[in-house]
Symmetry: C2
């Protein structure tokens, strides 16, 4: 697959509660699906403890592996154990400082909440100001669903985006503040898929041939087969082909080539029924 053409992303999920199994992480799956739609390349998802050196190591490792975008989730709140931005600052070797844009966002929010009577006092206490304390040079990202702004830091050609762990806040900031930047800045690939459903050739019979085809196509098309059991005494299998390329034409051409070769093999091996479904 033409992975090198698509911008490489990594996701870092922060949270002791996830590692202790007491809450389920849904943010990584949601973000992975969005990045898939955008046609960028998600290389790894890493879940780490609420610990400055764990988080900053994970960020550095991702950048060292070549990630151009690192998206973190969790640890942006007001309490002392919300330490993600401290870890980002450490990873990029910058000081933490009060971010004026973030202060303005927090002030507007607390004034609105005070006017609605939800809180008594809109004053920016040190604990509230903590949410505006970001690595120097950061861009604050507006949060329409909660207090803590997101944070975007540029560092040696990489972009580190930090989002809150509360799913509805993460989704809001991603959709309004992050997605448009990815669309503008990242190299994206076209991703096309087909499912070939085949009856009457067991996986064990065609697998060696299909492996040869896959290698002959120099891995430009990803091939995965999923056995689906037995029907009327015959094996049923679904073969999934995924073609990815920066050029839509090339993605289509490679997919067509793989599809034709695989159907040819299946016919030679005595397939009783073959159906093709575009995905």
């Amino acid at each position: 697959m033409a992975r090198a053409k698509a911008t490489s992303f990594e996701i870092i999920i922060v949270g002791n509660e996830i590692l202790s199994g007491s809450i389920k992480d849904t943010n990584s799956g949601w973000l992975a699906a969005r990045l898939g739609e955008l046609g960028v390349y998600l290389r790894r998802i890493t879940t780490v403890r609420d610990d400055v050196s764990e988080i900053s190591s994970a960020i550095r490792e991702a950048i060292r592996r070549g990630a151009k975008w690192v998206i973190t989730s969790g640890g942006l709140g007001p309490t002392f154990d919300d330490i993600t931005l401290e870890a980002v600052a450490k990873a990029v070797n910058r000081k933490l400082t009060v971010n004026q844009e973030a202060v303005n966002m927090l002030r507007a929010r607390y004034e609105r909440l005070a006017a609605q009577g939800v809180i008594r006092d809109a004053h920016l206490t040190p604990v509230r100001l903590k949410m505006a304390t970001m690595p120097r040079g950061a861009i604050a990202l507006r949060n329409n669903e909660g207090s803590a702004p997101g944070c975007l830091v540029r560092y040696r050609g990489a972009t580190i985006v930090s989002l809150p762990g509360v799913p509805r806040e993460l989704m809001d900031i991603f959709e309004n503040e992050v997605r448009p930047r990815i669309e503008k800045e990242a190299s994206r690939i076209h991703r096309l898929g087909v499912w070939i459903k085949v009856k009457g050739v067991p996986e064990s019979v065609y697998a060696p041939e299909i492996e040869k085809t896959y290698k002959a196509l120099r891995k430009k098309v990803y091939v995965k087969s999923h056995p689906m059991g037995i029907q009327d005494g015959l094996s049923l299998t679904r073969i999934e082909l995924i073609s990815e390329d920066a050029s839509r034409e090339r993605a289509e051409r490679n997919l067509k080539e793989a599809e034709e070769q695989i159907i040819q093999i299946l016919k030679e091996k005595g397939a009783v029924e073959i159906s093709v479904e575009r995905r």
Copy 2:
């Protein structure tokens, strides 16, 4: 927290489909909850692509970080893109070889399926034998729910366990083959928790004091506060304390000390209502 006392674990989830967002990973959350019950320390969860060098790097990194157990999920099936055991072999620098125990497990399974008429032929074809091909010296782990046996490899004081990605197969092998070995071999900690619910002191008022307590307790008790909104014009918050120690007595003593200090602070700060719930 007395993390150093509990054996360190890492989980590695293998799967392009998870990184492309087309399927949701539920195995890591399930395993995290089981490891939490067992009282071991889960340091990281890493999700990587179906790629030999990605998987073997992730395994090596985990061992380098000090993991004594690495549990992988996915990539044990019969097709050429199931390459987890090849990656384990690479990570521990051993050759792949046909594992006789695994062959026996597969033979018994296919003979049973053929006798039931589910498959026509119990013959161990090369594709089926692939599932018995494991790093030299591996222990095959019985799979009561599917074909591919799990695999356990010992390497320089660490244990690498590879489980299938199909949740019901992963659960079966974990419960019957892995859990008993962890119970016997791993150092486990006692984990005790309380929730303190407090009304009338906003998080921003008590947070600095509680942070001092946390530090004074030398981080033996993990403290996390969760704002729960406003009721009758008063802040509601839940403060979660988690105490972990190899000795149950010490875990209890530390927890009691933290609880008393925090309740004292909350009273001084004017709490209207405090309730304590053991977890």
